[in-house]
Subunit: 382 residues, 3 copies
């Protein structure tokens, strides 16, 4: 629906929310060529064919529409004008404007993907002026242990030790098992012997990228033991991933096995499986989810995704994230598009007489702020 | 769309429809504590975590919005006020008001799930003032046969005999194979020897809950032989079910094998697979479906589900149900939300100039009343 | 949204587009009985049950609404009036009116399905007054080779030879592996020995319908070698097909193996997997898709499908098709419903302030015309 028609009280409440972006990566502090910029506004890792530009996409049009004004340009400007202005301002100023203008009050920054190219949590806090805490990727920790040299039999112990060490101040853990194997792994915790053997095979083949399903399961179960909320990549991502094997319903048995620990499980992104994620969130007390990433990529269609995430799940189980990585446009849009989508979707519920405005404000506050504060123990001032 | 904008003739036609709720369970005649009530407004069988209330959900908000006025309260009331009023009125008066005010003209009551806690068909007829017929659950009949003591070799015969006996006045059969095994069972009819062996294993392990796929198939084929319309649980349900294995497309081979019998197959609920169900309903003459249960759980979003059910299926193959169990709020809302959803979806087709109002009225009458009358042989006065 | 509210410039731009229908079959030149007509407005190959008419469907209502006026009737007319008028005008005049009034500027006609009952490319060009080129079905060519008599060892060579011969002026190839086996085939190119053995088995069992997965793979790989754009049937179709095995995500490995050739892969129809297709189109440079067929079958709901096709895919990767076969109503509606859907979806993006009108016109021109011209090398005058 048109935002002009959304009840004003709801619009203002949404604008004032200090959002918690519960899964995000750092912004890049480098100036970006057009090629580099276009490579970063797609999940595809392929070169852009010469007969197209990635600006011709929902995300591209959303960047021009919503970020151009933040850089002092008209939303009807061309990609060339936008990138020229971006270059003139410089990455630091661009980041400052886009991050500070995002309305995010707290970032939980996942640091396990190409972290040398982007800002870390402290850099994000500095650039945005709001707190930023860390989310630690399990596979990255394991690969560091392997890289540092380790006997196969010692792997489990060394990994646990390093994980506890690395997460002393972290707010959450993250697994990319969906990329490394698919979510269709055996959900049982592997035995110590199985882990040592798998570590032996891994080290024997030179270490590097961890994709052995025994080890991935071991990481997840060690992560559950660690007791921090555990985030799962689910649904769309780059071509490295088989989307069929990134369906959240594949996690059902693991969810049931882990349920007695009470560790919150956070299903990230989920597109196009957001309804399946909502079903799991209704069925299992520990399951939460978001539709980040998909919101950015679907731009003017993002209200449709957000609406589908507000069907069968209890509202205490839905969270907000951007999953931005690299250009601060993605951090900005993740929040901006989510706010607009929530205003449209909940505004329509109110306009149609199905919800009161008070209930709409209650839900947007839960999803945007309160659920994340509860799950990650952020406290109000945090 | 806002109901005010729906053409008045369509709204009135929808209000006057004597709906056939072709798959519903009994209402509870007990007064309910807050805990008991919240347990009954979710498919989850887990306790409600102390940090949330199930009133914060689409279903919870729909109860307050649409049932509070039926109990004489403001739709903006709190859950506490609602439950206090409900307790003061008592279950009998609550049921009377919610059932009589539902606009349902005929209930087909499935009696196989915790039937000692809820009203049976005659109790439903009495509380609502309209006819109520029975739908018999195949698995419940088989479990009664087992409980009554039976030799393995005699099981097939005893089951058939008991089924014919139990269904003399029933309108339909129902199977919950989706819960007990998944819909990915071998579609062929098992041999008598296979059935006797499987019955032997079942009885040998003490009988009880029937989940052997050979026996489940045998029940289904015996049900098809019985010749009454056969309802299948499909799609969302409680965590007992693996939603991946409740996809209606898994029934394709069974549908084809059973097609020559002409027995109508009714796919119930189907969320989030309503489009897949619609495809099957276009392809196969015997296949029908509904989006009950999902309508209640998606509340203000239920028009989206209903709309997706009106894409590729012929309109003669879509039915209405609530799948309500327990609180009469669910019976009331199943009908109320469906009417509002149909008004919005078909009203938009008319407003956009795609359908005439006459066609919209024709379709809502087919889906709400006539298709069920035809499938179940209810006749107009029935 | 109501078309009256769509910005006028966008509506005019859409009306003036000389659409390229990049996957269509011929129109029938026969007069049609009611039975024959109803059989052709469904993907079901079953007789129509006597208790229903296929006019009671989205497609049926769309025919009355949009084609009746082209035949000089009121859109509120009955099916009987419509068919009587159709018979009076005769198939030739009906085709002329519906095809010429479709706004299509170029047809790519797939000739491999019951081609003796319908017009070929030249007949389509004549009836419509615009160019029509051929799309050659791989399986049809192979079956002709088999029917003409061929030694098993010679099959691969003869098939390649015949394919090159048959496609000298063709614009594209098409495979119906989804029907003949499912898309879950081994993606590797089979060896010459495997092909000869499979051909031996096929010929030994009398030839006829080709459904051997080794041969299907061989056809696909020979088609990729041929170098023309390759169309895949994906998603809904007649009951011959298992919809679970027509999910485009099953093509992932084949897409990756074929990627170095640069051959464009076109995923056709895709319902209800249009979001999965869009994901593949974002991930892989060679992947394109459309939502034809589903648009016709979903009628007043077709804007929902079109909207879902405009989420995560780059706009350079989305195409328009009708997949019409037989009654020229399907050719007409494929274009008419698509135009109305695009106007509604993009019009809403503009009205909501998310897109400029210029961007909306750019996208509808890409999807309706330019992407197909680029992929198939049609040139502007072609």
């Amino acid at each position: 629906m048109e935002l002009d028609l959304v009840p004003g009280g709801l619009v203002r409440a949404i604008e004032e929310l200090p959002l918690v972006d519960h899964h995000v990566h750092g912004a890049t502090s480098h100036d970006l060529s057009r090629t580099a910029f276009e490579e970063m506004i797609s999940e595809s890792d392929r070169p852009v064919p010469e007969w197209m530009t990635r600006f011709d996409s929902q995300l591209g049009y959303a960047i021009l529409r919503h970020c151009a004004p933040v850089l002092g340009l008209d939303p009807h400007c061309t990609p060339e004008e936008y990138l020229a202005r971006r270059a003139r301002l410089g990455a630091e100023e661009v980041n400052r404007r886009l991050l500070a203008g995002s309305g995010v009050g707290h970032f939980l920054v996942e640091t396990g993907y190409r972290s040398d190219e982007i800002l870390g949590p402290s850099g994000m806090a500095e650039a945005s002026g709001v707190p930023a805490d860390e989310v630690v990727r399990l596979e990255a920790v394991a690969e560091q242990v392997a890289a540092s040299g380790c006997a196969a039999e010692a792997f489990a112990g060394r990994f646990a030790e390093t994980l506890w060490e690395r997460t002393r101040t972290a707010r959450a853990l993250k697994t990319v098992a969906a990329y490394r194997h698919g979510l269709d792994f055996d959900p049982e915790r592997p035995t110590g012997e199985e882990v040592a053997q798998a570590a032996g095979r891994w080290f024997g083949s030179g270490g590097g990228r961890l994709d052995d399903p025994v080890l991935l399961r071991h990481l997840i179960w060690t992560g559950i033991e660690r007791g921090l909320p555990l985030q799962f990549h689910v649904g769309l991502g780059d071509p490295d991933l088989d989307l069929r094997r990134a369906d959240p319903l594949l996690l059902r048995e693991l969810i049931e096995l882990a349920e007695p620990t009470g560790v919150p499980l956070l299903l990230l992104h989920c597109y196009p499986y957001q309804r399946q994620a909502g079903y799991l969130a209704q069925a299992y007390p520990t399951v939460h989810f978001d539709v980040g990433l998909g919101v950015n990529y679907s731009g003017a269609r993002s209200a449709a995704l957000v609406a589908e995430s507000l069907e069968v799940a209890p509202f205490a189980k839905v969270l907000f994230s951007s999953d931005a990585w690299g250009p601060a446009e993605l951090h900005h849009l993740g929040a901006e598009l989510w706010r607009r989508a929530m205003a449209r979707v909940l505004g329509a519920f109110v306009a149609e007489g199905e919800w009161s405005q008070a209930r709409a404000i209650r839900v947007v506050t839960m999803v945007g702020v309160e659920n994340a504060r509860r799950v990650y123990g952020l406290g109000e001032g945090a």
